[in-house]
Structures are given as structure tokens and as C-alpha cells.
């Protein structure tokens, strides 16, 4: 293939980067301007910073608890789905289970309908059915972690299967002969080798839960409310607080950016894992 001239490539990627990053920049600009300036002539050049929106957000105890909820629910969900997905894939890959292909396909069936279809059943399950005495799963963090699992676990199983299948069974066998118990085979050999796939799954499930709005808005009232639902509270009948919303949005973006940058290397390896014989 003929390579493009270097300056053309630089121009191309500068343009793509601009397209991608400009909305984020604009969001930041909105978050550091007072409300009056927002509605005057739009100006993307920053001359001075107005941090009050951020201070307001950080001083707001409710928003702080929403942020904590988001973090706990996303992380709890991602860890649970990744671990359970990994163990499921290990069983599907290594053991002769009758009808395992059907089991594999069956896991994905709930992703074939839009999430809205599950809203009412989920609402009834969490408010009416899953209750012990006064304790109900609705509006709890553990409830939301489990709800997101129903969507993320099938996804985790599907993304992890090629990774686990790609780890040669001979390594398990070598470990068995070397004196490892089945649990040691998993922890010492298969799990460390599945790390790239695990990182990808962890991130993608985390992002799903972090960004999710519909289910969180329906199944939480106050205790387990997340940041995404918190955003909507600033759209009121008397007006929309754009500056505060922008500041919350920046806060929403930061953890995702940090997590992505930390595991970016693994994501690239993970997505190509097993593509070529290594």
C-alpha cells in the first residue's frame, strides 16, 4: 500500500482529534463560565476561569453521594461481571458440559431486546418480589449492581470467551501434572494469562454501568441515585443550570478517562488477543 505523505497524515489526525476533543473542550468552557456569559455571544476562547460551578458541585452533599453511588455501583458491577464471566468461560472452555453451545447462546438472549422492555419486570422484581422483611432491592446499590449484571454478564461472557479459549489447555494440564489443584490452575495460570481480555471486559462493563441512565432513573429514588440521573435534576421548570450540569459532566468524564488511560495498553492487546498465533 502506498503511504500517504507525512504532513497529510498529520493534518488528517489533527482534524480527527479536533472533531473528537472539541465538544469536551466546549463542555469545559461552559463549566467555567458564569450563567450570564453563557447566553451572550458564544465564545470558545477562555480568558478567565470561573470555578464557582465546581465549588457548588463539590459542596453539594447530594451530588457527592450520587458520585459515590456511581463509583461503587460501576466498580462493583464491573468486578462481579468480569469475575463471574471469567469463571463461566473457564467452565465452558475446559469442561464437557452437555449443550454448552446452547448455554453460551442462551446467555446473550436478553441483549436482543431493548433495555426498556425489561423496565417494568425489573421494577416489579425489585420493589415487590426480591424483599426480605422490610428490605427491598429497589433503590439500593447492591440492587443496581445486580440489575446491571443481567445486562453486563452476558456481554462479559461473550467478550471473554475467545480469551479463555485462546489459552492452550496444555498449560492447564502441565499445571495439574506439576501438582496444582484446579483452583491453583485458575489463579496461577489461566487468570494471569487472561489479563488483557479481563481488562477490556472490566472497562467496557464499567463504562456501561457508569453511563447508564434509563434503569437508574427508574429503579432508584434517592439512596442509590447515580450521577447520570443527578444531571437531570438540574433541568427544572424554572430553568436549566447549564454551568452546574457542565461541571458535573466533567466530573463524570474524569474517572472514565483515568481508567481508560491506565488500561489502554491492555485494551489494544485484548481486542487483538488470539487474532494471530503468538
Amino acid at each position: 500500500m502506498k503511504t500517504l505523505r507525512p504532513w497529510l497524515m498529520i493534518l488528517f489526525w489533527t482534524f480527527i482529534s479536533f472533531l473528537t476533543l472539541f465538544p469536551i473542550y466546549w463542555l469545559f468552557v461552559v463549566s467555567v463560565k458564569p450563567a450570564v456569559e453563557l447566553f451572550s455571544t458564544p465564545d470558545v476562547i477562555l480568558t478567565k476561569f470561573y470555578w464557582k460551578n465546581y465549588i457548588d458541585v463539590l459542596n453539594d452533599r447530594t451530588l457527592r453521594s450520587y458520585m459515590m453511588n456511581s463509583l461503587i455501583i460501576s466498580t462493583g458491577n464491573a468486578v462481579l461481571c468480569t469475575l463471574l464471566g471469567f469463571l463461566t468461560c473457564y467452565a465452558l472452555s475446559r469442561f464437557n458440559l452437555p449443550g454448552k453451545e446452547s448455554i453460551f447462546f442462551w446467555t446473550i438472549t436478553n441483549r436482543m431486546a431493548p433495555p426498556a422492555v425489561f423496565l417494568l419486570p425489573m421494577f416489579l422484581l425489585l420493589t415487590q418480589v426480591y424483599a426480605i422483611g422490610d428490605f427491598k432491592l429497589a433503590d439500593t446499590r447492591i440492587g443496581m449492581i445486580l440489575v446491571y449484571c443481567t445486562f453486563n454478564l452476558p456481554f462479559a461472557i461473550w467478550t471473554l470467551r475467545p480469551t479463555v479459549d485462546g489459552i492452550p489447555k496444555e498449560l492447564d494440564e502441565a499445571a495439574y501434572v506439576d501438582g496444582a489443584s484446579p483452583w491453583k490452575v485458575i489463579t496461577e495460570v489461566v487468570f494471569p494469562l487472561a489479563r488483557p481480555g479481563l481488562a477490556v471486559t472490566l472497562i467496557l462493563t464499567w463504562v456501561f454501568a457508569w453511563n447508564e441512565y434509563l434503569l437508574a432513573a427508574t429503579l432508584t429514588n434517592f439512596n442509590a441515585r447515580t450521577l447520570t440521573t443527578g444531571l437531570s435534576e438540574y433541568v427544572t421548570t424554572t430553568g436549566t443550570e447549564w454551568g452546574i450540569m457542565a461541571a458535573i459532566s466533567v466530573f463524570t468524564l474524569i474517572p472514565a478517562l483515568i481508567v481508560f488511560s491506565l488500561v489502554q495498553r491492555h485494551i489494544v492487546t485484548g481486542l487483538t488477543f488470539g487474532a494471530v498465533k503468538g
Partner: protein, 353 residues
């Protein structure tokens, strides 16, 4: 060290039986090679010994203990896999120390034993490397190191040299043999390469289609193959086989091939008229002034010896001689056969007469 007894072992996958009552006795410290073509069941048998494959019927004992239901980790065996099966995320040292770590040995002991094994295998300078940074031969030695650190009762080798190039294979062959002489541990070694089997084994087990065809010392198998399959499998190049019958020529028995070729016979109980398979190894055929006239088809000089493919009637006979023969294709030469080197097999049962 331990002896191993494989007693009437049967293996079924569902309704399909792939191993039909295999019996092998392996003595203390013996180097036994299981050899046979692909699909003969030799690797399955080794995996059953390791505990990686279930035994459908019969028993396998290591020492005096029946191990049919003993898990691999409790069999006190070590195995070297065809692909080496090194843990890619562990260093050479960690790979070699893994069996000891699993046995919860103290770190000082692990370091000491890994160090000693690394010294034996010339790996001491590579202990901090990862498997992907090693050459094929080095990986092979790490796999062996991982096996020897535990000082197991039995070593199992599953075609360990088949991924190496020809030259390295010869070197590693010598290294494994040396290792056996040093450690004197019982070894069961699987290969499809009969040269490996001949050069390394104290005892060879020739297998075909899930059955043992013959068990014996390498030279015994070479000199007295019990059937056509073993005769053809052991020895390189392969033995010449000619189909025909015993005829009487002036009161003496002779072999007459289907194409009419007459060949000398040793003393044999086979009756005149009996249909037989006549076997003669290429290296047991000489070239002389008088003998069986043959037409040269191809001559392959290798320097140390010359291989001649020649036609006699409708039969092609392969001979190897030490002399340098410069016969042109199409020219006639004479093959000389010493009847003492002839093997006769029954044409129906293919068993040795």
C-alpha cells in the same frame, strides 16, 4: 524411582474403543519408548499414565499403587509436553520452581533445586528470562528442568523433540539420554520417530491402532520383528517386502515372488507352496558380480553410503551399500542376499514364521 505396570488397559470414547487391552511392564529406572504411527494410541496411553485421560478399563500402577483414580498431582510424575507448555507469564526460574511452589516447599529449597537443575541443563544464565525470549532448544531444556526439579518417580515425555530442527534434535537426544544415565529415573517417552526410539530406549513398545504389536530391546525388534508392521516400522529405510510363495528348486526351498523373481531362503519350517511375505532390509543387500540381476532405477549417494532403487521383474528393491557405486539408471547390476538376513512372514496373518 518406581516400576510401572499397565495391565489390560482399555480406552473408550463413547461407543468407540480406541485402546484394546494394552499390557506393558516397565522396570525401575528403565527408559521405555512408546512408538507408532499417528493415531496408534501412544500419546493417549501416556496421558492415561499422567492422569490426564481417564482409563475405561484395566489398571495402571506406579510403584505398588494402582493409580486409576489418583489425580495427576498425587501421582508423583513429571511430564514434558510436545509444545513444552511453559507458562508464558512466568520467568524460566519461576517455571522451573512451579512444581515445588505447588508442593509448598520453602523458598530456599526451591532456589537451591532450581539452581542445581539449571546448572545441569546449562540454563543458569537464563533464569530471569521469559519463555518467549528463548530459542526452541532452550525452551525444551526449561521444560525438562521443570520436570527434574521435583525428583519424580517417573518422567513422561510426549514427543518432546518434534518441534526442533534436525540438528538440534540429535543434540537434545543425547542430552536426554545423558540425563537418564545421571538420574536413573524411570522414563516413558512417546515418539513417532523410530530413530529416536532405537537410539534412546532400553525397551521399545511398538503400537498400532490401540494395540501393542511388540515389546522388546531395540536390537531385538530390529533382528526379530514379530510381524510385518514392526518389521516395516523399525529400521530406516524401511524393509523391502515381496509377496510370493515357497517353491522347491532342485530339492532346496526358494522364494518365488508374484512377478517371478527367485530369491534365496534360510532354513524355514514353511511348507513348499505356502504363501509368504519375504522381507529383507536394504542394508542387508550387497552388490556383487553374481547374484540377482536387477535394473537400476535411481542411485542416491549420500557420501557415507549409497542407496540404490532397482527393479527386478515387477518388484522394486531398495538397497544401501557402503561402497560408492556409479551405476547409471537403466544399467544392470547384481544384488547379493545372505539368506541368514531374510525375514519370512505368513501372507495371511502377517506374523513371523
Amino acid at each position: 524411582m518406581a516400576n510401572v505396570k499397565i495391565d489390560n488397559v482399555i480406552k473408550r470414547y463413547g461407543a468407540v474403543q480406541v485402546m484394546h487391552g494394552v499390557n506393558v511392564d516397565i522396570e525401575h529406572g528403565e527408559f521405555v519408548v512408546l512408538v507408532g504411527p499417528s493415531g496408534c494410541g501412544k500419546s493417549t496411553l501416556l496421558r492415561m499414565l499422567a492422569g490426564l485421560e481417564e482409563i475405561s478399563d484395566g489398571t495402571i500402577s506406579i510403584g505398588d499403587k494402582v493409580v486409576n483414580d489418583v489425580s495427576p498431582k498425587d501421582r508423583d510424575i513429571a511430564m514434558v509436553f510436545q509444545s513444552y507448555a511453559l507458562y508464558p507469564h512466568k520467568t524460566v526460574g519461576e517455571n522451573m520452581g512451579f512444581p515445588l511452589k505447588m508442593a509448598k516447599r520453602p523458598k530456599a529449597e526451591i532456589d537451591e533445586k532450581v539452581g542445581r537443575a539449571a546448572k545441569i541443563l546449562d540454563l543458569a544464565h537464563l533464569l530471569d528470562r521469559f519463555p518467549k525470549q528463548l530459542s526452541g532448544g532452550q525452551r525444551q531444556r526449561v521444560a525438562m528442568g521443570r520436570a527434574i526439579v521435583r525428583d519424580p518417580q517417573v518422567f513422561l515425555f510426549d514427543e518432546p523433540l518434534s518441534n526442533l530442527d534436525a540438528k538440534l534434535r540429535v543434540t537434545m537426544r543425547v542430552e536426554i539420554k545423558e540425563l537418564h544415565q545421571r538420574l536413573k529415573t524411570t522414563i516413558v517417552y512417546v515418539t513417532h520417530d523410530q530413530i529416536e526410539a532405537m537410539t534412546m530406549a532400553d525397551k521399545i513398545v511398538v503400537m498400532r491402532d490401540g494395540r501393542v504389536e511388540q515389546v522388546g530391546a531395540p536390537l531385538h525388534l530390529y533382528d526379530y520383528p514379530s510381524n510385518v508392521f514392526v518389521a516395516g516400522f523399525i529400521g530406516s529405510p524401511s524393509m523391502n517386502f515381496l509377496r510370493g510363495r515357497i517353491v522347491s528348486e532342485g530339492g532346496a526351498k526358494q522364494f518365488a515372488s508374484e512377478s517371478g523373481l527367485r530369491l534365496p531362503l534360510p532354513d524355514t519350517p514353511a511348507e513348499v507352496g505356502a504363501e509368504v511375505i519375504y522381507g529383507i532390509r536394504p542394508e542387508h543387500i550387497g552388490v556383487g558380480d553374481a547374484g540377482i540381476p536387477v535394473d537400476v532405477v535411481v542411485v542416491e549417494p549420500t557420501g557415507s553410503e549409497t542407496q540404490i532403487f532397482a527393479k527386478a521383474g515387477g518388484d522394486v528393491i531398495d538397497a544401501i551399500v557402503k561402497d560408492r557405486i556409479s551405476a547409471a539408471p537403466g544399467s544392470q547390476i547384481h544384488f547379493v542376499i545372505d539368506p541368514a538376513n531374510v525375514h519370512l512372514f505368513d501372507a495371511q496373518t502377517e506374523q513371523r514364521i
